[in-house]
Symmetry: D5
Subunit: 116 residues, 10 copies
């Protein structure tokens, strides 16, 4: 489902960040909806993630039961296998549950100098 | 009381953060209630902290008299002995007392690269 | 438990507001702690509410199970019967539960002109 | 699905507000998810809205296609017919679509003095 | 260009607000671009403004030279003649020019009670 | 120095607001610079204030010694005698001097309904 | 100690506001320092309050023990007897004590139309 | 179109930042307008970018269809070839599209010590 | 006057921060009051600073004339000689004087790894 | 015009920051006023900058035409030659001109460890 396009400036390490503020999935334990923000930051190699397909990809989790820790790594794995970036980070921030909010951050590859 | 579950992605160092904004304990000197926020950040090894048990664990301090400096280290010690993380940080932020607010931060282990 | 002192300026309608940001009680259904802010606004007649006794009065709810709607009216009733104000308003604002936050507002008497 | 409980203080006009920040439905035109906040404010007569049932009621719209203007009035109608309040207001605030954000506000009954 | 749809709840006065944060036109004096936010608030009679056509209508000003005071009234006139609302307000807020920012507000009709 | 242009929509009462955030004059007592924000709000009759001439007019105070209370009324008088509005308000907000900040507000005429 | 100067525009009702953010006095019970903000808003008749003398007047409370409710009315009384305003309001906002912050508001006279 | 002027202090590495908050271009896919902020940060060698020409240069994109990733690198390339800086960074931040906002960051050269 | 207690966790480097937002002293030149915030951050060795004695210690400066630069170092010296920390930082932030605000930061010892 | 006083604690590297939020000069091209904030941060050697003389020094630019890039370096040079600091940084932040705001940062010397 995720689509890519050719990196228009492949000879330069530059940083791309997409923030999806309207993410929702289900809690696998209670079936209750979870709400959060998904931030994808990466330095592309040959391929960039196409924005609309990213939106549709993230919508697939709408009615799927999956834990915070797991979903963050699953999104990272799916994106890495699709666009093979030099470096990528996925961060999910979740709204309050039981008086607690959570943030999960996973990375693939060594961060280039542009990532400070 | 603290429960754990198996880290679903043990081969990757990723960062987990839980922020409990509704923490309260008692001042051991005056018996007056203290209010604060407890932030737990860690990189798991084999085990992750189960969220609901973390909530219940933190509620145990509700009617217990304990100093800021002590409670921060006690929470860190309890969590470390339960889930044996690669790295963990506990930070407590307290509301104003006598015109002063306090923040205590304690860590266990060396912070991996994902912690910047 | 609530104490009062003589209004030092009884011939003028003036507005007094106390905001207790560290309020906690228990949910009567689940036994889980609730957290909120209690705002008391009033125009005194002969008596003012003594601040320290107000703090201690509010602490009494710490381990008591009581619903949002009820507690707001109970606090208003207790304060009104203690200091007989010209007008009084009690507002409770609660932290997020199940993705929802609540605010309850109850008043006693007709608001004088100073209350705009 | 909506449940009620007996108003514990029926002889006083007081204001109840519930803000559900995690609301989502579907756009009936495009099938794309909409995200928003639903605020319910009311002065109860004999019955109050039970919070958990309100949460579950609002979750029913998760996979239902309905326009902003319609959903606001539908929620108001459902709540009014369930708890017969003296006055009720429903406001929905929606996230940005096509560079625009929307807010819809509908009311039932004449606002009592407590609503300023 | 502006399109309408039948008001789904014509028997109730309710308030609709659309905020377009990405508005741009040209200064008729200097030809330089102006940037602003357009807020439309109205109580519909028989017809509601269709959102996508509102977006396209506002984009028509992108390369048109027109003064702040004029554009606000022109938008109001166009919308009123299209959807014949019970009441409508158009407000434009402009970014800083020469160290000054401007806000223009125009209304059509008497505001109903829902507009407080 | 102040210039005007013909009100393009003289048959409707609409509200115009200009906020000049970069105002400076001198304290007549100490010769030290004062800094503030000048907000002009008005409902035009036949004439509107031209923005660039308003900017230049306000710059005239740059090296002039004048008190807060006086300057607010002087600006109002000058603008009123130039454009004869249905209603006008001038508000000046000043930065901190001696630990105090000041706000002065003066009006001309009765506020029409559009001013709420 | 409070000084006045002749109102430069006595024929117009205009609003003057001074906000002293650096106010401190002592608690008469404990001797501990209190900290707050004092806001004076008034419509002058013949006399305006001179700013520097207002600053020095407020500094007099630095080492004086006086309750919140009392000090607000004392400041109002002193200012009213010095400058005989058409209307005056004094509001004091206090920093947190025992988890509570307080705001006291007292007025003299009927608010003119400029006070909305 | 971009103009330069001689760096007035060429013997010192110092940091220059210009933030254009009113940038707009077109989406090459849909023809719809995009809105964003362009931040240029650089350490000059012999030449500085003239501000007004930078404004006019950025306005050229107003009716041009170009992707986020491309435009960021194009602006960087144009500026680098015009003023040959020791180091330069271009960052574009875009408003929400499809519930997502994006930030693209590209650099030329090694950042000197002044860039921390 | 400053009191200490035994560090309850001396075998771990952890960070303690106290922020006193209600600090006041006198300007030695003009005798006018200064207002500021004092932040103390430290990693304890054997001894921790007792909070109430810290509050009383800081109140000693209330009627003492001392410059910003001096007071910051004096507080640091007094605290270091009392509790002999591994590392300590004192930062004072002052409110606006003559249109300028100041911040002074002094440290003792090398910052351990916990201080990032 | 700039005056100094002997560093009261010359044996310790500590950081001094003064922020002048009320800076104004003239644009040498158009003669129009520029407004900004000047931040001076330094680690003193033998001499500290006297605050009142710094204020008067900065006021000298009020009616002087000078470019952003130039003024930042001129202020740094003047301060360095007056007080010979171990390290000094001058940053100027300017209000919006033509839809763009600018920040210029220049330094003298190598930053000591206290500057993080």
């Amino acid at each position: 489902m995720l689509e890519t396009f050719a990196n228009p400036h492949p000879h330069r390490d530059y940083l791309i960040e997409h923030v999806a503020r309207e993410f929702t999935s289900l809690c696998p334990k209670t079936g209750q909806p979870d709400f959060g923000t998904v931030t994808v930051r990466y330095v592309a190699a040959e391929l960039c993630v196409e924005l609309k397909s990213l939106k549709l990809y993230l919508q697939q989790f709408r009615n799927r039961g999956i834990f915070y820790e797991d979903i963050t790594n699953v999104i990272l794995n799916d994106l890495v296998s699709t666009c093979r970036p030099r470096w990528m980070q996925v961060r999910t921030r979740w709204t309050v549950r039981g008086g607690m909010r959570s943030v999960i951050t996973a990375e693939h590859g060594e961060p280039p100098g542009i990532v400070r």
